[in-house]
């Protein structure tokens, strides 16, 4: 029974592979959290970072990360949704569609540093937006757009054709069918995909080095006028995000507690990504249950 023995061995190897991977990943997460959690405290999260003294926090960086994420999503979600809808619903199998598909693919596999360089060239220098939230968000848009397009297309593709036909057969136009039937049906999938992509945007750093900058001006969190220079909402100010902060501290920091800051920031980053993930699952499940009437 050699085939049986081969079977045993091969399956064991597969299990081992899975174990190695799980172990690696668990060790990674464990390492980050073990070293980082002790560094996290309320004051770490709510204090300004210090340029040369110990005990700086990450308030601004955290805010910047979320703000850039929000701005990026503001650009990518509508564009990506429409692009996904185009590819899934409107695209005829012709040369143009093929070309658009290739374009999405190209965008998806661009090295983020190339995107950063492009951002530096166009947004920072050509449009003169300097190192700013806007430049950073636009660079990340280039980077995230294909992800959203792909997610949307996949989610729409998994909506049964019958639903579309159902709408059209009721004398509803294609656009309205898509808007009111197909997209809502695909919504859990799209939303989950968007939130998961948020994790990657949140942690991106290379593209931001050249576009959002390595510093944050003094922010006045009581000033919410987006046109004011000290306002946290000003999209034209430079903004160091959390992951850039890790890089920055590690590269050029002269504070004595570099290691603590880096550890703490890494853990906060990972916890945020974890949070996105759990949130995505919860929301997806909730909507799914609502749509299928199991709730």
């Amino acid at each position: 029974m050699t085939s049986k023995i081969t079977n045993r061995i091969a399956l064991t190897v597969i299990v081992l592979c899975a174990l190695v991977m799980t172990a690696t990943l668990a060790a990674l997460l464990g390492y980050i959290l073990y070293h980082g959690l002790s560094a996290i405290s309320l004051s770490f999260l709510t204090k300004d970072s210090s340029s040369f003294q110990a005990g700086g926090g990450i308030k601004n960086q955290l805010w910047n990360s979320f703000y850039i994420l929000f701005a990026t999503m503001l650009f990518t979600v509508p564009l990506g949704l429409c692009g996904g809808i185009y590819l899934s619903e409107y695209a005829k199998p012709n040369k143009l569609t093929q070309f658009i598909r290739s374009c999405v693919e190209v965008l998806a596999s661009l090295p983020s540093i190339v995107v950063g360089m492009f951002g530096l060239l166009i947004f920072v220098n050509y449009f003169g937006w300097q190192y700013s939230i806007l430049s950073g968000a636009l660079a990340l848009t280039v980077f995230n757009l294909p992800v959203i397009v792909r997610v949307t297309e996949d989610a729409l593709q998994s909506v049964p054709r019958e639903l579309r036909e159902g709408g059209l057969a009721l004398g509803v136009t294609q656009w309205h069918t898509i808007k009111t039937i197909v997209v809502p049906a695909a919504f859990p999938g799209i939303l989950t995909g968007i939130i998961l992509s948020a994790g990657r945007v949140f942690g991106e750093s290379a593209a931001l080095l050249f576009t959002a900058g390595l510093s944050t001006p003094n922010l006045d969190f009581s000033n919410w006028n987006p046109m004011s220079m000290t306002s946290p909402l000003n999209p034209f100010r430079s903004a160091e995000t959390l992951s850039v902060h890790i890089w920055q501290v590690n590269t050029a920091g002269i504070t004595p507690d570099i290691q603590t800051i880096a550890n703490g920031s890494s853990a906060v980053l990972v916890l945020c990504v974890l949070g996105f993930n759990l949130f995505a699952r919860m929301v997806g499940k909730f909507i799914d249950r609502k749509l299928t009437g199991k709730a």
């Binding site: 040369f52 900058g213 510093s215 001006p217 220079m229 590690n250 590269t251 050029a252 920091g253 002269i254």
Partner: protein
């Protein structure tokens, strides 16, 4: 950059309360913390002034100030040393001095070297510390990248403009220090402010210890200015900030706190060609 300076308010009256406007500073990451700390203090005194301190590197600082995007470009090299920058347009303010020396791993058993030996080590002519009087440990070079001010200074004044041989290159003084500390036989170079513990050996060159006093007196040659450049004459608000940088509170508090030497203490002066003159 300075597009939203409100006109009319920057009159020549020296009353500080009436200063207002926006200043964009950017460039050298080495100088960035110093500028940021000074800017924070300055803004406390002048709430109407907004100063944005960006990084980007010395190169970006020089390019952007030349293009008019930055009000102040920070650089740790002379603008003259960059071939495509029109230095004549720029006005130089030397706001601090930074001394540097080689950092050596303890296992090398080396505390001082002659310049000659140092050059041999860095150009790869010598591969083992025993050849220059140390222990039998292999030499590992740790460099800073092209264009780095620290590298440029070290190459020019410690290595007499010789190009170092290839080794590990790190863009971070922290990492350089870490590597030198951890890797047996490693040697790199750091600003003096990084020698704040005894994890690496602070190398004496040609019998001169790398101390602040020796730098100030001109005995120890490896040092550089930290520059702030403006394009032509600065606007009043920018001028006010630069004056503030050069004035005593900053020079005697923030500058040393960040590990720099105050320019006021320097007994010697250096020009863009590297010519040393007594003050």
């Amino acid at each position: 950059g300075s597009k939203d300076t409100s006109p009319g308010q920057t009159n020549t009256d020296t009353k500080k309360e009436e200063l207002s406007g926006k200043i964009v500073i950017g460039g050298s990451t080495a100088l960035q913390p110093l500028a940021a700390a000074a800017a924070a203090e300055f803004m406390k005194e002048h709430p109407q002034v907004q100063i944005e301190v960006q990084g980007g590197g010395s190169g970006a600082g020089l390019s952007e100030v030349s293009n008019g995007n930055f009000d102040i470009g920070m650089s740790d090299v002379f603008a003259e040393s960059k071939s495509n920058i029109d230095a004549s347009q720029l006005k130089d303010y030397k706001v601090a001095v930074v001394g540097m020396t080689a950092a050596v791993n303890k296992d090398a058993g080396i505390k001082k070297l002659s310049k000659e030996d140092l050059i041999k080590v860095f150009t790869g002519k010598v591969k083992n510390w025993s050849e220059v009087g140390g222990k039998d440990v292999k030499i590992t070079l740790v460099n800073r990248p092209d264009g780095s001010g620290t590298r440029a200074t070290f190459d020019e004044f410690a290595l007499d403009k010789q190009t170092p041989a290839e080794g590990i290159t790190q863009d971070s003084s922290n990492t350089v220090k870490k590597i030198v500390n951890e890797t047996p036989g490693a040697i790199g170079y750091l600003a003096l402010s990084y020698f704040n513990d005894d994890s690496v050996v602070k190398l004496a060159i040609d019998g001169t210890d790398a101390t602040e006093d020796n730098v100030a007196s001109g005995k120890f040659p490896v040092w550089a200015y930290e520059h702030m450049y403006t394009k032509g004459d600065p606007k009043p608000v920018v001028k006010a900030f630069i004056d503030y940088m050069m004035a005593d509170p900053v020079q005697s508090n923030i500058v040393p706190a960040q590990g720099y030497l105050s320019v006021t203490k320097m007994q010697v002066e250096r020009d863009a060609e590297g010519k040393l003159t007594n003050k």
